[in-house]
């Protein structure tokens, strides 16, 4: 594309795809970029287009009709030269520049070779989603213990099951599709350990009744699990994993109401893989350094504060989906549409504003689903007493191998948040920059406050060689991406 673009969208999951398609339909020129090799993000994760025959994953997905419609719409805009789609592009920084934004990216289509580029536009929409929130437990760093999302990513993206006997644990409805997907691929799922009690949902009947689609989806997973005889164990947790070169067993314990394991009730189950996840942590790496205000979400995460049109507190910066609070793909799609409508209105685009009726319908769907997300967060909390299953030797920071004992010592020495623990122990200072251990270290030191991730000026590692090769001027003459759905 040689003409200037109006909008850069970072993240091509449900929110970003919808936002880009809506903005394009309204006449804007858009760059849509994603670190993945296919459109869809994590929720609609797919193998690259050319590999789909070899790795069939359709049956693992939900809402594929919408995905395909978005892919078709984006492909049409791309053919018309209005969409610049950049897959396998990693955004490592976004900064204000004049009246707009500069998004620094590395093009990794030819990885491991990297090429740096800068994408500029007056408006920026961040739809970077979320990743699994983790709580450490003894043995969680053994090979074969993965995040629940990691198990699903291998299955959806590569057609690979990471084990043949798998235990899942943590909290939240996401464990169910992961279990159903594994079972559908012939994996023996020996237990789904849900720390919460389903009764907790009964405290929020309104959101449940107003979102029938959600419980219909839940019921379909439950049916799959029943068909494969997968036991779902409420108020139970995986409190330890055992093994050497690979995990060989897990210890499961029923939990008391505060989340502490009931003494003397542990059960040992042999497995060759484990999946764990305690809800999600929003991916705020690009938003925080831009200075956008955060607010607290019911799940304990700090999330981007937005107005009813998905505008952040930074003019020209919009965000949609999990970055505004974890709420699932259907909500992300609605928020993506609202965000794009705001971009169109704020850009003075010639396109007619959406009919009031359409806008009202989307806003009420967002309100309904936000209420559901809040009920979900309250029904699936991080159990208060989870540190009870840590030993002093349990690794908390996987990268720097900082133990729970070291974190407790730092707390006794006066550290009262994850930043101070990092200075004292190096927890959060390694490769992942605290993305894995941050929420846990926060819980161990500053419980009761929302978890705000550390400010990361470089959102993904980038080689100096790539930066040295940065050709500042022609940022938009890169060879067009061959891959498009």
């Amino acid at each position: 594309m040689s003409e200037p673009v109006d909008l850069v969208v970072v993240g091509a999951g449900p929110a970003g795809m919808t936002a880009a398609a809506t903005a394009l339909a309204g006449g804007l020129r858009v760059v849509l970029l994603d670190s993945g090799t296919a459109l869809g993000g994590q929720y609609w994760r797919h193998p690259p287009e050319h590999a789909r025959a070899a790795v069939p994953t359709d049956d693992l997905h939900h809402g594929l009709g919408r995905y395909r419609a978005l892919c078709r719409a984006l492909a049409a805009h791309r053919s018309a030269g209005r969409l610049d789609l950049r897959l396998a592009h990693h955004a490592w920084s976004a900064v204000r520049e004049g009246d707009g934004f500069a998004v620094h990216v590395v093009d990794r289509r030819d990885a491991p070779r990297e090429t740096a580029a800068v994408l500029r536009a007056p408006r920026l929409l961040v739809a970077t989603g979320a990743y699994d929130r983790q709580l450490p437990f003894p043995g969680w760093d053994l090979p074969g213990v993965l995040t629940a999302g990691g198990l699903q990513a291998l299955l959806k993206g590569g057609g690979v099951a990471a084990g043949s006997r798998v235990a899942l644990g943590g909290t939240g409805p996401f464990l169910l599709p992961v279990a159903a997907g594994l079972a559908a691929r012939g994996v023996e799922v020996v237990a789904v350990c849900e720390a919460a009690h389903p009764r907790a949902w009964l405290r929020h009947p309104g959101p449940l009744l107003r979102n029938p689609g959600k419980w219909a989806e839940g019921a379909s997973y439950a049916a799959t699990l029943a068909r494969h005889r997968v036991p779902v164990r409420p108020r139970t947790a995986i409190v330890a994993a055992e093994g050497g070169a690979r995990v060989t067993a897990v210890r499961l314990a029923p939990l008391a109401p505060d989340g502490s394991p009931r003494p003397g009730t542990e059960r040992r189950v042999e497995v060759d893989a484990v999946g764990v996840g305690w809800g999600f942590a929003p991916q705020l790496d690009l938003l925080v350094p831009l200075g956008c205000a955060l607010t607290e979400s019911a799940d304990g995460n700090a999330v981007a504060a937005v107005d009813a049109g998905q505008r952040t507190t930074v003019p020209g910066l919009y965000t949609a989906g999990e970055t505004c609070g974890v709420g699932g793909a259907a909500l992300a799609v609605h928020e993506g549409r609202l965000a794009a409508w705001s971009v169109l209105a704020d850009s003075g685009a010639a396109a007619p504003a959406p009919a009031n009726r359409a806008r009202t319908a989307v806003r009420s769907a967002v309100a309904r689903q936000r209420a559901f997300a809040r009920a979900m967060a309250l029904a699936h909390p991080v159990p208060r007493a989870w540190p009870a299953w840590l030993t002093d030797e349990t690794v908390v920071c996987r990268c720097e191998e900082v133990t729970a004992g070291a974190v407790r010592t730092a707390r006794a020495d006066g550290a009262h948040d994850h930043r101070q623990v990092k200075q004292l122990t190096r927890a959060g200072m390694g490769w992942c920059q605290g993305r894995m251990c941050g929420p846990a270290v926060h819980c161990l030191t500053a419980r009761g406050r929302a978890y705000e991730p550390a400010e990361r000026l470089v959102a993904t590692p980038v080689t100096l060689g790539a930066l040295a090769g940065l050709d500042e001027e022609p940022t938009d003459n890169a060879e067009p991406d061959k891959e498009c759905s």
């Binding site: 789909r52 990885a111 993965l146 999302g149 291998l154 057609g159 990471a162 690794v395 590692p461």
Partner: protein, 84 residues
Amino acid sequence: MSEIVVDGDPLPFVEGQTVAAALVAAGRVAWRTTRVGRRPRGVFCGIGVCFDCLVTVDGARGQRACLLPARPGMTVTTREDDDE
């Protein structure tokens, strides 16, 4: 089926799989050793966030195996202390 070369040995993969998926499909879940505790590590988050799955690819160190699409002939080296 195409192949990559991992530590000198051929490893088959299905077109579209990442290096991590190819390794896991072959039954390998660990291919790195940590610096301090000498602990085995492999894929954990599977989506590029945790950096546990680092490998050296065609001489480039610090590559996340879970993000990197396998390509025929790609040379993958798993080595200790790749996190240094």
